[in-house]
Symmetry: C2
Subunit: 333 residues, 2 copies
DNA sequence: GGAACGTCTGGGAGCGTTCACAGACTGAAA
DNA sequence: TTTCAGTCTGTGAACGCTCCCAGACGTTCC
């Protein structure tokens, strides 16, 4: 590989000094139009590309952020929602010439690696994904004072880690109201883990609408996996055989619930209406297709990135962003 | 953020020179046990972490590789297979302290960004994902002489870009043989795009087994999306209403085929047997669950990473790796 | 005419490493 | 004793950039 041109070469080609080239590179004030043009031309001629390492060495900025996936390894990505988020984040960051490094944080070793990475100054900011309540990583990052935002609130840290999220609570209300309007009487729910915002708030929204009808025996907890949807549904059926609707807090778990119902001989939606949440790609695949709540995932991801960049750019504290959800009616309810 | 300790601080704390600390850091020869111990202790005491930028500046190595996703934006990640690959790659690279940057290459702007990134020396290697035949990016990367490997062969570049892949052709044969053994007579297929190895080789394997029976009218082409599975199946039914089996080259497309068949009133597997490919997470979700071919995705990802690291570490050329597939029988066939 | 100010430019210093080299110290061989 | 090879260590010189300061211009205003 032929030696790459440096800022010196550009300066020589343009007949100016390093300082001037640097000023052009960074849009600094006080560069004459003539010098500016000469430098631009020299850059094009030489095919110069700034060396980020050299720059980072003095600016202490890296031009990259790290996305930390906090799910245990086996589950990472099982949820198709990750895809949208990652893709959107990459695009938005790319537009600003910021690159995205992805790290896993499923066990202590992983977390140590993340902390080491951040302490090493290798990233300008951290993007937390699906972080559970009490995750020690959050405290560690906090003490490192690195800009961090979460995609979806971090329970217990809502005021210290800014976030963008869908309105889980209102989304759950939309679904609950819909099921009630459809004339369903005995409505159960399978929630997400109760240490995640989706787990907690979707249950709260459900309870907001059903009030006293949301009794203990109509509530089961899952862990977002399809399998937990299956087993949760089985327990509900056993306890309350005459239920006529179930609101499942994620599409993937709803797919699990659907197979349990089918195996139990219940027709959907005739005997039991099923409502999901996410409007992820599985929602259209299931049989019957899921009536669900659409989360504006792309927008959530965009807002998350926006918050992080704002934080990095040194504006003061930023406020959480909560985006509206929408009911998508298909055939399961 | 308090100023981070540098190699100088460590040297002072250990009572040695920068050079000695550097030697310890890089496992160089010729460090006395005493000095070694002193440095290790000083590193622990000061909480020193090497500054990668400074190091990269002189070594010209970055300690990171970039994964390039070549699908058009809308499709990126739609295929759940990406998840496994990305996750595995992150882990294996992480173990070697190499970080993974993900970039999109769905349009010309993206591709330019990738080239710029690589030309800027920001990555030690490139990991190509799902690159289509004739992708201009490949030529550009080739001319930059950066170590590159592909996950799945790049059609037309098999000899210049090393790769790891599942044995698509033999996998397709396994499915075709199985369908024949089950007594199916009129077996159709929906292929992937014919500029991808999965598209080409799975069709070849299919044809290997069916020979002359694999007639034009029994072949439809999809683009890996669920929608294309639906429409492909519809065209097949129209042309050959009496087909009794279909081998679909991906699970996601198979899911699409399944809904078309259901809408057309065909029972699966009674009237029509459906075979998928991938054994991705959707395979278990469909109704009925898909009989499919399992690709050893994690192993493929691991091998891909291994090849790339070998290439980066400067060993000579490396050989492609092809891993065996396995038939998974569920209910759809 | 000179002071005061805004605009523009060049170049030294420094960011935190690694690398190459020179030199000091050992012990064994001549 | 001298010589030599093998260990071990310290130091100056990069790597390619940004930052900052000093100074050269031009205007404008008193």
């Amino acid at each position: 590989m032929a030696k790459r041109p440096t800022i010196h070469d550009v300066a020589a080609a343009a007949g100016v000094s390093r300082g001037t080239v640097s000023r052009v590179l960074n849009d600094d004030r006080y560069v004459s139009p003539a010098a500016h043009a000469a430098v631009r031309r020299a850059i094009a001629e030489t095919g110069y590309i700034v060396n980020r390492n050299a720059r980072s060495l003095v600016t202490q900025r890296t031009g990259s952020v790290v996305m930390v996936l906090s799910e245990p390894h086996e589950k990472v990505f099982e949820d198709p929602n990750y895809s949208t988020t990652i893709r959107t984040a990459i695009r938005r960051l790319g537009e600003r010439d910021v690159s995205l490094v992805i790290m896993l944080a499923g066990d202590d070793g992983d977390r140590a690696r993340v902390v080491h990475y951040v302490r090493g100054g290798h990233a300008d900011g951290v993007l937390l994904m699906s972080t559970h309540a009490g995750d020690p990583l959050v405290d560690e990052l906090e003490s490192l004072r690195i800009p961090a935002v979460a995609c979806g609130a971090v329970i217990g840290k809502e005021n210290v880690i800014p976030y963008a999220a869908a309105d889980d609570r209102e989304g759950a209300r939309q679904m609950a109201r819909y099921l009630v309007e459809q004339g369903r009487r005995k409505i159960a729910t399978i929630t997400g883990p109760m240490d995640t915002p989706g787990g907690i708030q979707r249950l709260e929204g459900f309870a907001d609408v059903l009030g006293r009808k949301a009794s203990r025996r109509l509530i089961e907890h899952g862990d977002w996996t399809q399998l937990s949807g299956e087993s949760g549904m089985a327990r509900l059926l056993e306890r309350t055989p005459d239920l006529d609707a179930v609101f499942v807090a994620s599409d993937l778990m709803a797919a699990g619930a659907l197979s349990t119902l089918r195996a139990a001989g219940r027709r959907v939606p005739d005997d039991v209406a099923v409502g999901g949440f996410d409007d992820s790609s599985v929602a259209a695949t299931t049989h019957p297709p899921l009536t669900t709540i659409r989360q504006p995932l792309a927008e959530v991801a965009e807002e998350t990135v926006r918050l992080l960049l704002a934080l990095i750019d040194g504006g003061g504290p930023v406020d959480p962003v909560i985006l509206p959800t929408r009911l998508i009616v298909r055939e399961s309810a």
